[in-house]
């Protein structure tokens, strides 16, 4: 008789799987996370998850929390959506993020701005400096062209369809998939407007840390960059770790770095004056 022929046997078979460890999985409870950044207490960790190549995750994190994304093996490409968790109709606005800060290249000290003139998150630490705000998510068509298919149920998922699932878990849909940021893969703009991509190889372990300036929903898709020139579906796991932290104080240097950014923080503080 097979080991799953009866409900009793199937139950025992299912329960015997517990405790299995794989590379891409969440740490639950998050306070059991290991290899934390210096100074972070395990008790303060609220999310720890390794996202597979081609995988995705979506999560709510509180104002003041830090979210560290680590490119574990040097070939991750994290496409990122951000919403105000309290009122998700407010979301990351890439055009405003670049225009208001007078710069197209995001890195340490830069702000991620919403479409309501507020800071959703600050980049408080960036060991990579190789990101892309121009090219957006891969989609079914682009992955089908490059890899033969791009289905969620296949071997080459595309970032847009990963986003569809990530936002669906929060009751959001296709119309809510806004223009995204691509982290860890660099795109620069040449003198004639041409996009210049650099997919590495990069050293393993580079990380980027965001500070949530509002309560956020973050949606991450870890798929090859839409302009990745390699034939293979090349992408490696990314670790997401978040921990509790204080709300940004008035004297914070990032808050005060530019007049435009300061007004974005003032608008956040105005939003929370209730």
């Amino acid at each position: 008789m097979s080991s799953t022929a009866t409900p009793y046997a199937a139950q025992a078979h299912a329960r015997a799987q517990a405790g299995t460890r794989v590379e891409a999985m969440p740490t639950v409870p998050a306070s059991a996370a290991v290899n934390l950044p210096l100074g972070v207490a395990a008790a303060d960790v609220v999310w720890d998850e390794t996202i597979a190549p081609g995988g995705y995750a979506s999560r709510q994190i509180a104002r003041g929390s830090r979210l560290r994304l680590t490119d574990l093996a040097g070939d991750a490409c994290v496409s990122l959506l951000i919403f105000n968790a309290e009122r998700p109709i407010e979301r990351l606005n890439i055009a405003d993020t670049l225009k208001v800060q007078w710069n197209g290249y995001l890195g340490q000290g830069r702000l991620l701005l919403s479409d309501m003139g507020r800071v959703l998150a600050s980049i408080v630490d960036d060991e990579a400096g190789t990101h892309d705000a121009f090219c957006g998510a891969s989609n079914q068509a682009s992955n089908a062209r490059k890899y033969g298919d791009g289905f969620n149920h296949g071997a080459h998922p595309n970032a847009r369809d990963r986003f569809s699932l990530g936002v669906a878990k929060f009751g959001l849909g296709r119309k809510d998939i806004h223009p995204c940021l691509n982290l860890f893969k660099e795109v620069r703009v040449g003198q004639g407007g041409e996009t210049v991509i650099d997919v590495g190889p990069y050293p393993p372990g580079r990380s980027l840390t965001l500070r949530a300036e509002m309560d956020l929903i973050v949606v991450l898709a870890n798929c090859p960059h839409v302009l990745d020139p390699r034939e293979a579906y090349a992408v490696t796991p990314v670790r997401a770790a978040a921990w509790r932290g204080p709300v940004t104080p008035e004297q914070d240097p990032i808050r005060n770095a530019t007049p435009e950014g300061l007004r974005a923080f003032l608008n956040v503080e105005d939003y929370f004056s209730r």
Binding site: I94, D96, K99, N103, D115, N139, I177, G192
Partner: protein, 208 residues
Amino acid sequence: MAFDPPPLGAVVHNEVVAARAPWLHAVKAGQTLRIVDLEGNQAVDFLVYSAADDAERYSAQDTIAAQKNIFLREGSVLLSNEGRPMMTVTATAVAYHDTIGGACSCESNTLRYGHHTKAQHACVENFLVANAVQGRGKRDMVSNVNWFMNVPVEADGTLGIVDGISAPGLYVDLRAEMDVVVVVSNCPQINNPCNGFNPTPVRMIIAQ
């Protein structure tokens, strides 16, 4: 880059959009929409939705990635968020147009210029008003095209809206590759050079 506008087919719609005003119109596959910058350097903020399924809409990022260039020029194809061609720039008398600068809003104006600008009219207001007629709302706001607007990017990533490179009478022709709905804000911004600090009317011509 064609300086003189090419001949159009039979005109089915011809309208002057007032300075600062919104505009919405359907354009059928195969038809051409000509936008004429009547008085010069007037930014025309522009979104386009699939008429059959408005969750499919213009995607600046898909368009940039596919053509590997941030500027829209003659020959550029406006792609949807599903990677499908929506419209093609068949002719334009302006060297390039912008699609990274986005639309001005009351809220972003407070960051860019100060809270004294919050009550000024803005492109997002126009987009919201025009889209509301067809049941669309704020989730339908995505990165747009800015016809006749100039946003260069320097080597260190510095970018900004600078003096325009358009002139009175210059145009852009867009052939619809699918049935679409075009939504425009004739930009009311007065705090930067996108409209030469003086918003002016533009002409919209739809031809077979």
